[in-house]
Amino acid sequence: MHRRCVAQVAPAAIAALVVMSFVGLGGCRRAPTDAATTDTTDLAPGSVRDEIGRVVTPRALPARRVVSLAPNITELMFAVGAGAQLVGVDKYSDQPAPEVDRLPRVGSNYEPSLERIAGLAPDLVFLSKSANKRETAEALERMGIPTFLTETPGLAEMGRTLRDVGRLTGHLAEAERELARMEAGFAAVRERTRALPHPRVLVAVWTQPLYVGGRGTFAHDLIELAGGENVAREVEGFVTFPMERLLHLAPEVIILPTHAPETGAAPAVAAWKRWPTLPAVRDGRVFAVEDSLISRPGARLVQGAELLAHLIHPELSPAGDRDVEQIR
């Protein structure tokens, strides 16, 4: 199912907004644009091509004053050691805490305050294709503010985005190190779970109506990586799903991506108790998990993969309960 990831103030777009707010503002999946994003040979000095193929000329290279309009970019900026160059972030950028809390806010992803951004005099504004509107980038360009659009539809594109953030901020070496760390982390999770039996796993972003995570979501990729089998792999993206089919698919583990599960996820978890025929419910394996760990293409995806591996395979070791609310 094709999803628009841009929210508008109209009932017809509400679904898009809901989905967007539940995928950590960055999980929208489309085929990546075939642009040679790192190839700058045909460009004037000081210009680069962004991840959707636009030519961008930052006011300074490396950019010293940067605004991030997407939570995953904010995370990656800190991960490559460029956090000190951030002069403003969107209101959903919540990681890494508490460092990010000190930064000026420029509004929501889908309707940021352009004049506040202009007032911060950035050399470059980072946007994400799935979390921001193309119109925002165009408006900023018209105001003379250079914008770089990232596109990170899956794990495969993480490296590209990480390198671009590093290169444009003068931290390419750190970006390469961070990328190596992430790849090693994913490989370790895959290695530990590969030989184990693969239980059936459901990702339910909403319970009533039932919204599940299908193919083409980060949660799906991480589950498969962590030695699980996504029961909803017949559908694509985050979509509504028939309860009766789920009852037959009988998931053994249910993951509920939740914002701040340590505060108030209990009702969402308890709501599943009404389906006692599901093995996951019967065995107490319904878990609320911090959403941004498993659906935001940021610096903590490895942490998310490790958490899922522990939840899917309790035989590995007990999972830390900091990011989890379990059914009782």
Binding site: M1, L17, S108, Q208, P209, T240, E244, R245
Partner: protein, 333 residues
Amino acid sequence: MSPPPSRRRFAWVVGALSACLVGAWAVAAAVGVEGVDWGAALRAGTADHAIVVEARLGRALLASVVGAALGVAGVAYQTLVRNPLGDPYVLGVSSGAAVGAVVAIAFAGAAGTSLVGCAFAGALGTMALVYRLGRVRGRLVPAVALLAGVVLNALSWAMILTIATLARMGTTAEILVWLMGSLGPPRWSSLGLGAAAVVAGVVALAALAPRLNALVLGDEGAHSVGIDVPRTRKLLLVLASLLTGVGVALAGPIGFVGIIVPHVLRLVVGTVHRLMIPAAALGGALFLTLADTLTRLAFLPLGAEPPVSVLTALLGGPFFLVLLWRRRGERLF
């Protein structure tokens, strides 16, 4: 005024609609996207039993309660504003109820009772405003009431979106999902509570039926046959808002049931309220049960289940326009 319906006609209409409703429940329990092992379905504790009883029948019963509430509310509002376009959705009452419900979700954690209570308060407040604004020099002018409803609708949406914008991210999502208006397997306790409230509201309105017939004549006409017009209107307003509030609290705002159902039924059963009110309750239940069953099946071609409000609007929108077109010669307003 039409003559009162004969006992036989009443029994025939109510009996036929009831039989259709039971048939619709049977269809709803029988069909779905999954094949069911009926031997297993008879044994509690199996997945097939849960599919038939919870995922299908429970949901059909919820659709029936909500459909009955909205269908009868439509009849009541059409009588109250003396206009065939009266509908909880059109008059802004559903949105008013939604404001109440959204306040409950954002500030009270959406517990069952507070949700119903707040939705009822929102519906009642909005309809009282619509009614008050629609009165010009002591007389209700339907066009003014409908316009007031349109404006209050917009105001309500502005309030809802403001609350959604200011709320925490998780709460925002909860509000927006709820606003899509959909039916799911209900909690049996809230279904029972909702059903009791709807039955009470429908019975009370049915008891008012003779007075409602008189109201159709207009204030002077009703007064001349000995009806206490202001009191009757107030009762009508409260009962219709109760029904709307319960319906919206259970399923979110679902439009056009209050338009389609009464108008189709009027073609069959006429305009006498003693018959119209039970018929609209059964017809509303039937309509929404069938619409929701179609919604469930829509997963097969679409790969996702649309909210039932989409289906009622797709059916109801054109119906509303046809109604306007066919009545273009008459004085609608």
